[in-house]
C-alpha cells in the first residue's frame, strides 16, 4: 500500500561520499521542494550521478544525512529512478511495465489496464509484445520511463536519460518528462546539455568536482551565473 506521507522536501545535510581515498561528493547541503524540474548540471565527473543516487537512497553517504519529508529511513515507495543505460528485464515490453506495477503494489486486476495506459503515455503501445531487449536505445529509455511512472512517483530521478540518444528520441523523452512534471511529479535530472537545461529546468544545481557551486532559478543561472566556473561552463569553456 502507498505510504500516506510525502517524500518532499528532500533535504541533504552536509552530505559527503568517499570511495576509499577518492572524494566523490563534498559536504553538499540542499533542499529540493515541489515545483518545476530541478536539473543537475556540471562537467563529467562532477558527481551528478552519485548525487542522484544519494538522493534516491541507492547510495548511503559516508558523512552527513539525507531525509525525505523529514524521515531519514524512508523506503523508495514514491521515488523512481531512470538510469543513463536502463537495464531491460528479459521479458516483453508489457511484462517490464507489469513487473514495475506489481513491485509498486498495483492490484493484479488493474494491471493490464495500467500497462496499456503507461505504454500509451510513452508512445510504445504498438510494441507491447516485443522483447524489451530488442528495442532501440530511445525506445528502451521510454520503456524505462514507463516503468518509473508505474511506481506512481512523487519524485522522479533521471540520470542523463538522453545522453546516448539522437535528437528525435531526445525530444520524445523530454516530452514525457515535461508531461510528468505537468502532472505534479517533481523531476530531478542530471544533464550536461545546456539546451536541455533551457528547455526543461525550473531550477539548476551546478556542480564541479563533487561540490555544489550554485542552486538557483534556471533563468538566473543561465543569464547571471554567480560563480566563475558556471560562467565558464555556460560559455562552453572546458571546466575541470
Amino acid at each position: 500500500m502507498r505510504a500516506p506521507h510525502s517524500d518532499l522536501p528532500l533535504a541533504l545535510d552536509e552530505v559527503s561520499l568517499r570511495a576509499g581515498e577518492t572524494g566523490i561528493l563534498d559536504r553538499i547541503s540542499l533542499t529540493i521542494r515541489p515545483g518545476a524540474p530541478t536539473l543537475i548540471v556540471g562537467p563529467n565527473g562532477a558527481g551528478k550521478s552519485s548525487l542522484l543516487r544519494v538522493c534516491m537512497g541507492l547510495l548511503a553517504p559516508t558523512a552527513g544525512g539525507v531525509s525525505w519529508g523529514g524521515r531519514r529511513d524512508a523506503r523508495p515507495l514514491r521515488r523512481a529512478f531512470v538510469f543513463q543505460r536502463p537495464v531491460m528485464l528479459r521479458r516483453s515490453v508489457a511484462a517490464n511495465v507489469a513487473y514495475a506495477l506489481a513491485q509498486a503494489g498495483c492490484p493484479r486486476r488493474l494491471r493490464a489496464l495500467r500497462v496499456e495506459e503507461l505504454l500509451d503515455s510513452v508512445s510504445l503501445s504498438g510494441l507491447a509484445a516485443r522483447p524489451a531487449r530488442s528495442l532501440s536505445g530511445g525506445e528502451q529509455q521510454k520503456l524505462a520511463l514507463a516503468r518509473a511512472l508505474a511506481r506512481d512517483p512523487e519524485l522522479l530521478f533521471l540520470d542523463e536519460p538522453t545522453a546516448n540518444l539522437d535528437p528525435a528520441a531526445t525530444r520524445g523523452v523530454e516530452e514525457i518528462v515535461r508531461a510528468a512534471a505537468g502532472a505534479g511529479i517533481k523531476i530531478v535530472m542530471a544533464s550536461h546539455d545546456l539546451g536541455q537545461v533551457r528547455r526543461l529546468a525550473g531550477e539548476v544545481l551546478f556542480m564541479v568536482r563533487g561540490c555544489l557551486r550554485e542552486q538557483s532559478e534556471a533563468d538566473a543561472f543561465l543569464d547571471r551565473p554567480s560563480t566563475p566556473e558556471a560562467a565558464a561552463f555556460l560559455r562552453g569553456d572546458i571546466v575541470l
Binding site: L58, V87, R91, R133
Partner: protein
Amino acid sequence: MPEGLDAWQLIVSGDATLFAIVRLSLAVSLSAVLIATITGLPLGAALALTRFPGRTGLIVILNGFMGLPPVVVGLAVYLLLSRSGPLGFLGILFTPLAMVVAQALLVLPIIAALARQTIEDLWREYRDELAAMDVGAAGRVATLLWDSRISLLTVLLAGFGRAAAEVGTVMIVGGNIDGFTRTMTTAIALETSKGDLPLAMGLGIVLIALILLINAGVWGLRVWSERRVGA
C-alpha cells in the same frame, strides 16, 4: 559388422530386457536431476546474492566438486548406506533409491555452481534497477531465477548429461543387479566384458539417442523462448 545389425534388431523389436534397463536408467537420472535442481538452484541463488566470510572458499570448493570422481561419490554413499554405516538402518543399499541419492550428490555441485555463476552475472546487471524498484530479497531471487531460466535450462542439461553418462556411482551403490538396479551404463560395461556385444551396442545407441533427443528438445525450447523474451 553383425553385432551392429543385431543391436538394431534388439532396439526395433522392442526387446523387453533392453527397455526395462532404459526405463530404470531414465527414472534414476531424472529423479537425481530433479532433487539436485530443487536443492541446487536455491543454493546457487543464495551463494550468488549473499556475502559472508568464507564465501570465496565455498565457491572454489563447489566449483571443484563439479569434477568429483563418480567412483569416489559411489564409495562415500556406499559407506554411508552399508549395513554398518550411519544410514545403514535405512536398508536402501543396492536399490534404485540409493542410485538416485548418489547421482543427486554427483549432480548437485554442477547445478549449484553453474547456477551461482549464471545468477550472479544477471544480478550484477539487474542490481541497480531492482534496488530502485525496492524489490525485496525473496522477490530478487524469484526475478533472477525466472529471468535466467533459459540459461538455467542448459545448466540442468549439463547435470542430466553427467547423471545419464556416469557408471561409477550406480555400479557401486546399485550393484548392477539384473532386472533391479541394472542401468544402461552398467549393462554396457557388463555385457562388453561378457562379450555380448549386440546388447552392449544396442544400449549404447539408445543412450546416445536419448541424450541427443533431450538436448535437441531443450535447444528447441531455448530458441523458442529467446524469440519470445529476447534474452
